[in-house]
Structures are given as C-alpha cells and as structure tokens.
C-alpha cells in the first residue's frame, strides 16, 4: 500500500508563551513539511521548541501565528488520526495494561470485537503479551513506554508524534525499542515525527533529521539520511552523518561549551 495520507506542514509558525508576564518566543517563523509515511527526527538543545512543534501538530495548542496543516487541512484540535506519545508514559494508573490501550478506543468507530482484537494486536506489536493484566506501577519504565506507544498506535493514526519517548531508558532497552519502532514503521508506514536528544537515534531511524537552535526556537538545518534499511549502527556513512550533525548542533549557542570540550 502506498501511503497517501499523513502529510504534515507548518507554514511560518510563530508560537509565543508568556512567562511571568514577559513574552517568550518558543518558535520563530518555523516552516516544515513532513511527507506521508516519512520518518522525521528533530534534534536540538532543550528549550528550542521541539515539544512545542509536536504539541502544535497534535492539536493541543491552537493559539499560534501561521498555519499548521494535516493533509492540507488546518489543525484545530486533537484528532485520532494523530497519535502523540509523551516523554513520560502518562498511563492511567488505575487501569491494567490492556485497558489503558483500550482507553484510546473510546471514541473509535470499531465495534467491541474489533476493539478487543486491535488491543491484542498492538500489545503484541510492542511485545507485551503476558502483561495485559499488569497495572502501570508494576511495569518497568521501558514497558510503560511501550504501552504508551501501543496506545498511540491503536487507532492506526496517519501520524505518530513521539516526544523523546526513549529518553529516560537505559542504553540496552533504548536500542531494543529503537529496533521495535523501526519494525513498526516498516510494517505500518505511519508518518512518524520523533523528537530526540540522541543524535545516534536520529540518524539510525530517520529519513531526515531536523536540527533546531534555541532562543528563539528556529530550524537551523535539515539533514537527509538516505542509507537503506535495515541500518547498521556502526556503518561508516552513518557515523559521518552523526559527526556532521554533532558539529551543526555544536554551532548552536547551547552546545558551544560541548564543542570546546570535544576539541580539547
């Protein structure tokens, strides 16, 4: 199936917050287009507006200048066609795993039978069979985040927005979940926008990597990653791209100290 739905676009978007009465420009005239079925990564220092971009695409924040579009139509609020996985799992602590995933289907058009099988399929997709009845507090961080990913996918959205979903995990679990994300993306061809502070993660997974700089939040560079999949983490070309991205990031104010450190 050729992906036809799931394009996202920002046209000259400026987003201001007011902090203690004084204005703060979180995004300054940002324009960005995401192709249907594309895997886009966004990297940048903290505070450069990465989460803000995802929240605007998700429809959680309607007050901004410029246009935010999903398949050409303005985004005015959340939609089941756009899933968002937050940095923290944000599971309902009072529901076991399967009912947390089911909770995403409350307003779906599926009948009860189809809902049950969708939940079963997506729990399997993230490899959590056997934990359907577990409560969130019984899960490890990685497992909870996988439930959150299953919840984000269960409506089979055109778009999945991921806000540093693997940031808090240990290296081994993270590598494992990166492979799972890639497998899911290859299978479902959902448009994915992944915010990460891990450059390795970005080049390993993405078709293009957006580099942002803070104060005010701007897009500094967009780097295509054309290597075929499955990718090898040790691949020469991948490592060159990684070095290039790190240099670009180091040029942004927040990373100046890091660049000095690396040169030393």
């Amino acid at each position: 199936m050729v992906a036809t739905a799931g394009s996202l676009e920002m046209r000259s978007v400026t987003k201001r917050y007011s902090v203690d009465g004084s204005p703060l420009v979180a995004l300054d005239d940002v324009s960005l287009a995401v192709e249907p079925g594309e895997f886009l990564a966004i990297v940048g220092a903290s505070g450069c507006g990465k989460s803000t971009i995802l929240r605007l695409f998700a429809g959680l924040d309607a007050k901004h200048d410029g246009a935010v579009l999903h398949d050409g139509a303005p985004i005015v609020g959340p939609s089941l066609q756009r899933g968002l996985v937050f940095q923290e799992p944000r599971l309902f602590p009072w529901l076991p795993v399967e009912r947390n995933v089911l909770a995403a289907l409350r307003n779906s058009h599926l009948d009860a039978h189809a809902r049950r099988s969708a939940v079963r399929d997506h729990i399997a997709l993230v490899g959590l069979q056997g934990f359907e009845r577990a409560y969130p507090h019984q899960l490890s961080g990685g497992m909870a985040q996988r439930v959150a990913i299953a919840r984000g996918l269960v409506n089979r959205p055109d778009v999945l927005l991921l806000d540093e979903p693997l940031g808090a995990l240990d290296a081994l679990t993270r590598a494992h979940l990166q492979d799972e994300l890639q497998r899911i993306w290859v299978r479902e061809r959902t448009t994915m926008v992944l915010v990460t502070h891990d450059v390795d993660e970005a080049v390993y997974l993405a078709d293009r990597v957006v580099v942002m700089s803070p104060r005010p939040g701007r897009i500094r560079d967009i780097v295509p990653v054309t290597l075929p999949r499955p990718r090898d983490r040790g691949d020469e070309a991948l490592l060159r791209l990684r070095a290039h991205l790190l240099r670009t990031l180091a040029g942004t104010p927040q990373h100046a100290g890091l660049a000095l450190h690396r040169a030393a």
């Binding site: 959680l60 959340p78 944000r90 309902f92 009072w94 529901l95 909770a103 409350r106 307003n107 507090h137």
Partner: protein, 255 residues
C-alpha cells in the same frame, strides 16, 4: 500481603479488654460499690439474653443501623455530587464555597433545634441529621480529589478526544477515587456517631441511643453499658468494612 495480615486477628489487642473486664468484676464483687452502678458481668450476659429474647434488642439495633445507613447514603451521595461540581466548576466554587466554609463551622449539634422544628422529632429528622454529618467530610474530600486529577492525564483525555462525560467518568472520577473513599470512610464514622446523637437528643422511636437513655432513667446501668458496647462493636465493624472496601477499590495502587 496486606490483605492476609488484616484478615488475621492479633489477639494481643484483646489484652486491655480482658484487664478491664477483670477489674470491673473485681470492683463489682468487692462489695464497695452498689451493684446497680457497677453491675456484675454475669448479670450483663444474662441481661443480653433477656434483652435479645424479650425486649427486642435486635429491633433497636436494626433501627439504629437502618437509620445510620439511610442518612449516610443520602449525605455521602450529595457530598460526592456536590464535591464534583465544586471541584470541576470554578463558577460553582466561586458561588458556593465561601458559604459552605461558614456552614461547616457550625457544630453539628447546633443544627438539632432547627432540624427538629422543620422535620419533627421523628425518623425524618434523625436521618437528616445523620445525612448532614456524612455530607461535610465527603464533600471536602471529593473537591480535593477532583482538583488533584493531574493536568497531564487530562491532556491525554483531550488527545483521545474524550467528551466531557468521558473526562468525568474515565479521568476525574478515578483520579479522585482515593480522596472520595477517604471522605466516605470518614462520613461512615461520623454518621454512626450522629445516629446515636440523634437518638439521644430526639428520643422518639427505637434505637440503641434510646436504649441507653432508658437504662439511665430506670437506673439500669447494665442496659446502658450493653448499649455502649454495641455502639462500639458496630462502629468497629463499619470501620472494618469501609477499610476492606477501600482496599478492594484501590487495588491498582498495591496489586
């Protein structure tokens, strides 16, 4: 784990009871006091027998418990509904909260004359009084709980396009449940105290409180003491039931 520990009775808890009973018996038999004031224990047991058999002790007990549970159900459900309203609607809170905060400062027993004027000294008054006792703790804790629903989970609801009713049932209520149950538990204890109080001050009709006053008036301390023991036992049981229900409903925190 906690459940099994709770189910097993720790017999050490009975030590003070045994000591008290022994002291009572010793004083009663010493001949230093009037047996009408400190009646011997076997008399009390015998009294329990005759009260049950002849004077419908069980009827009095049942009357008190029904009264308690009716008033409790009425007051606690109004408290939960009102608490959700005040917790979720800034307008309702702005309009009603100040009055409520004055209202709750009025000691419960100060309401009795007014209630008696409006509802008589029959069953209705007593139930209203009990309901009043259950209402306040339930409302306060429900407001607290509803407000404590985390903004991050509410945002998840928005993302999943929950309607208002779904937000209420699937997010605000479960998030508030621990607080609501704390309030309901307090209300259950307060209701039982208020039930006895109501019977004491509005003495028409059967009830354990009536039994106690009768005992005093007829100078039968045995009957009074028996009534007191029953009040304690029922309160203890209600507390136990409430705690078990709480543990069951909040299993997701510990399971």
């Amino acid at each position: 784990m906690t459940a099994t520990r709770q189910r097993r009775l720790d017999w050490r808890g009975l030590v003070p009871v045994v000591v008290l009973l022994a002291a009572w018996e010793a004083i009663s038999r010493s001949g230093l006091t009037d047996t009408r004031i400190v009646p011997p224990l076997e008399g009390l047991v015998g009294l329990l027998g005759t009260e049950v058999a002849e004077k419908s002790l069980l009827g009095n007990l049942a009357a008190s418990i029904v009264r308690d549970l009716s008033g409790f159900a009425l007051g606690a459900s109004l408290g939960v509904v009102g608490g959700i309203l005040l917790g979720l609607s800034p307008l309702a809170s702005a309009l009603l909260r100040p009055s409520f905060d004055v209202f709750r400062q009025i000691a419960l027993f100060a309401w009795i004359p007014l209630i008696a004027m409006w509802f008589g000294i029959g069953e209705a008054s007593k139930i209203v009084f009990v309901a009043l006792a259950a209402f306040t703790p339930t409302l306060i804790n429900t407001v607290e709980g509803t407000r404590s629903a985390s903004a991050t989970l509410v945002e998840v609801g928005a993302l999943l396009r929950y309607r208002r009713s779904q937000m209420l049932l699937a997010i605000y209520l479960p998030a508030a449940l621990p607080s609501i149950l704390t309030g309901v538990h307090l209300a259950l204890i307060q209701s039982w105290l208020a039930t006895i109080g109501a019977e004491y001050f509005m003495t028409a009709g059967p009830g354990i409180g009536t039994l106690i006053i009768e005992g005093r008036d007829r100078f039968q301390m045995g009957q009074t003491v028996l009534g007191m023991i029953l009040i304690g036992a029922v309160g203890f049981l209600l507390n136990r039931i409430a705690r078990a229900a709480e543990n069951r409903l909040l299993r997701w925190r510990t399971a």
